[in-house]
C-alpha cells in the first residue's frame, strides 16, 4: 500500500484519536462527549501503534511518521499514566507501610540511632565533668543563649525572648527541621559523609546544650520542654540518618547492580520512609510550637512525653504485622 492510500484510509481514525487526546487534556468538567466510548481507547491505541510500525517499515514520509509517533506517544501517556487512588495509598502507608518499611531497615536505624545518641551521651558526660569543653563546639554566646532559653525567668520555655508567636515558631520549626532532614537524606549522595557528619554533629550539639542547661540548674525546664516532642523529632532525625546512609551505601557498594540502578532501587524503597519522617517532623513542630512551651507541672509534661514514646514505639513495632512484609 502506498502512503497516500494509507493516509486516506486511516485519516479519520487518527483525527478521532487526536480529538480524544485533546479532550483528555481538558479538566474533567470541561470535557465534551468523547469521540468514542472509553473502552475503545486501548484498541484504537494499539491500532495506531501497529500503523506506526507499518509506516516505519514501509518508509513513509517523515511527517506521517511524526504524526503517528506523536499520537502513539500521547496515547501511551494517557494509557500508562493511570494510577491507583492517592488517598487509598496514603492511608495504607500511614496505617502499616511506614512501620513495615522502618522495621525492614532496622539495622540502619540502629546504626543511625547510635551515631546520634552515642555522641550525645558522651558529650553530656564530658561536659558534666569539664564544662568548658562545650566551647569547642559552641560559642560562649550560644551557650549563654541556650541557658537563657530555659531559665526560670523566661515566660515561654525553649525560646529566646524576642522570638515570635507560637504560630511564627511553628513555621520556623517546619521550615528548619524538615529542610535539614531532607538534606540529611539527600546528603547520602556524598557517599553518606554529610549524613553521618550531620548525625554526629547534632548528637554532640544536643548533648552539650543539654549538659550545660542542667549545670545551670534549669534541667527541669529543659526536660519539660523537650520531652513532649523529643520522640518525634529525634526519631525523625534517626530515620533521616538511616535513609541517607542507605543511599550512600548504594553509591559505595552497589553489589550486583550498576550504581545508577542500585541508587534507583534504593531510593524507590526509601521514599516512603522519607515522607513518613517528614510527617513525624510536622507532628514534632506542632507539639514544639504549641504544647512544649507551656509552663505546666513537670509530671504532666513527663506523662505526656511518655505516652508519645509508647505510642510511637507501639506503632513501629506492631503496625502492619498482620500484613507481613
Amino acid at each position: 500500500m502506498k502512503q497516500e492510500q494509507f493516509e486516506a484510509l486511516h485519516a479519520a481514525d487518527w483525527q478521532l484519536f487526536e480529538d480524544w487526546l485533546a479532550d483528555r487534556q481538558l479538566s474533567r468538567k470541561n470535557r465534551k462527549e468523547p469521540p468514542f466510548p472509553l473502552h475503545e481507547a486501548a484498541l484504537r491505541y494499539r491500532r495506531i501503534c501497529q500503523q506506526l510500525a507499518l509506516a516505519r517499515d514501509r518508509d513513509y514520509a517523515l511527517a506521517t511518521l511524526d504524526r503517528l509517533h506523536n499520537l502513539a506517544r500521547r496515547g501511551h501517556d494517557e494509557l500508562y499514566g493511570a494510577r491507583r487512588s492517592f488517598g487509598r495509598r496514603t492511608w495504607d502507608y500511614v496505617t502499616a507501610g511506614f512501620a513495615i518499611d522502618v522495621r525492614a531497615q532496622w539495622r540502619w536505624v540502629l546504626a543511625s540511632f547510635l551515631l546520634l545518641f552515642g555522641p550525645m551521651l558522651i558529650a553530656f558526660i564530658v561536659v558534666q565533668i569539664w564544662p568548658d569543653v562545650a566551647y569547642l563546639v559552641m560559642s560562649p554566646h550560644d551557650v549563654a543563649g541556650m541557658e537563657a532559653m530555659y531559665s526560670d525567668a523566661n515566660q515561654h520555655l525553649g525560646r529566646t525572648r524576642d522570638a515570635g508567636t507560637d504560630f511564627g515558631m511553628f513555621g520556623h520549626y517546619i521550615f528548619n527541621n524538615i529542610s535539614i532532614a531532607f538534606r540529611c537524606f539527600a546528603g547520602g549522595m556524598t557517599a553518606g559523609i554529610l549524613t553521618v557528619f550531620s548525625l554526629l554533629f547534632n548528637g554532640l550539639f544536643i548533648g552539650i546544650a543539654h549538659s550545660r542547661v542542667v549545670l545551670a540548674g534549669f534541667g527541669d525546664n529543659f526536660h519539660s520542654f523537650v520531652v513532649g516532642h523529643g520522640t518525634f523529632e529525634l526519631g525523625a532525625i534517626v530515620l533521616a540518618g538511616a535513609t541517607g546512609m542507605q543511599l550512600g551505601a548504594a553509591l559505595l557498594a552497589p553489589g550486583l547492580l550498576s550504581r545508577a540502578a542500585a541508587l534507583r532501587t534504593t531510593a524507590r524503597r526509601l521514599i516512603g520512609t522519607v515522607c513518613g519522617m517528614a510527617v513525624m517532623l510536622f507532628i514534632a513542630a506542632l507539639l514544639e510550637a504549641f504544647w512544649s512551651p507551656l509552663r505546666l507541672p513537670l509530671p504532666w509534661k513527663l506523662g505526656f512525653g511518655t505516652c508519645m514514646l509508647i505510642i510511637v514505639m507501639t506503632y513501629f513495632i506492631f503496625a502492619g504485622r498482620r500484613r507481613g512484609s
Binding site: 502513539a72 501511551h76 516512603g272
Partner: protein
Amino acid sequence: MAVLTRKTPAAGAAPSALDTLRPVTTPELIELQLRPAGLLPRALAFLLDFGLRTGVLVFASTALTSLEGFGQGIALLLWFVLEWFYPVLFEVLGKGATPGKRALGLKVLHDDGTPVAWGPSLTRNLLRAADFLPFMYLFGALSCLLHSEFRRLGDIVAGTVVVYAEKNTGLPRIPEVEPIAPAAPLDRATQRALIGFAERANTLTEARREELAELLPHLGNTYGTQPANRLLGLANYLIGRRA
C-alpha cells in the same frame, strides 16, 4: 511481522551516534523516541521557576508583614512548600511540567516514558539538595553535562528524564507535480531521502531546492533543467500518486 525482526530507523532519527534520542519500547512493541533536554533549557526553566517562586514569596511576605508573628509563620510555611513541593505538585498534577518547564517546552517522564508519579518526582526534587552541592548546583550541572541523557543526580536516583514535550505536528503536504517513474528501482535510503526532500520542499527557497537537488545528479539532472522538479516528481510517484 517484519517490525519485530528488522530495526528500521524511525521518525526523524538520525544515526544514533549523532543524536541524543532515548528509544523506549512500549508493551505494544513499538519504539517511542524521547528527546532529552540539555543543561541550558533546563537551567533556563529553573531560573523561570525560581523567579516565579521568589516573586510569590516576596509578594506574600509583604502582604503578611501586617500580621507580625502569625504572618511570619505563614510566610515560612509558604517558603517551605515552595522550596520543596512546588516542583512535585506541578510535575505530577500538571502533566509533568512546572511553569518554567512548560514555558521551555520540557517535561519530566520516567525513563520508561510513562508520566512521572509521586514517588519519583519527590525523589528527584528532594535530591536537588544533593545537586546543589557544593554550591550553586555544581554537582547537578556537572552530572547533567556528563550524562548521555543529561540527567542530574536527582534524575539518576529517581529514574526520571527531562525531555522535550511533543508538539502537535500537522501534515506538511508534498507539493503535487506530475509523477515520474524512476528509470531503475531505488533503494530504501534513496527513497527516504527523496520523500524527505519533497516534504521539506515548501519550506526551502527556490535556489536552495535546486542546490540540494544537484547533490543527486544521477536522479535529478537527467533532463538538464530544474532537477528539483524532477525529484518532486519521483517523490510523488513513490508515495503513490500515479496517473
